[in-house]
Subunit: 107 residues, 2 copies
């Protein structure tokens, strides 16, 4: 399982005038990240926001990309030199500035 | 894998004066949810926030609990009657009002 791993979640907040091209995201952006990070990226989980706590409410995040790494150090080493290429692809599918969460998977 | 499943993430935003007892959360609150929801809950992933995008920044969320279900309908049916019991346990470990995201796992 993923217990003990580092999980980096890139979350795209919904909002007025915000756009998010899920098709590009999943078919172009995620494969780009996978190609750039290589073996250091231990797994991904890609989400499409459906809703929030209240019935029929809009999801807080239009999309979320979760990436798993063995350590913060390995993540930094792999992501650092590719940050520009990865961030430079964002305008191709969204006008949202993502929120980034780095977590340890406890269980 | 979890592709096609419904993922419900309960996220506790960090902030000034906010407290979060991770020990209680993982040893009491999560087991409470597991006991109440039973077999309908197909899996969980519990996170402890370490940081954000900027080096040495505070994590957007102190903790995140992810729960997996086969469908939104199954989630609603299992969670609905237990909402009061689950939400009533929150003051025992945090003063944070959580953000809830319901997502479909695309990949």
């Amino acid at each position: 399982m993923k217990k003990g791993m580092i999980k980096v979640s890139v979350m795209y907040p919904n909002g007025e005038g915000k756009t998010f091209d899920m098709d590009y995201y999943i078919n172009k952006h995620i494969p780009l990240i996978e190609a750039l990070l290589g073996d250091v990226l231990k797994g991904t989980e890609i989400e499409k926001g459906l809703g929030g706590a209240a019935p029929k409410s809009i999801a807080p995040f239009a999309g979320v990309g979760n990436m798993y790494f063995n350590s913060v150090k390995e993540f930094g080493k792999a992501f650092g030199p590719n940050t520009e290429k990865i961030m430079g692809d964002l305008p191709n599918f969204t006008n949202i500035e993502p929120v980034v969460q780095i977590s340890e998977v406890l269980a």
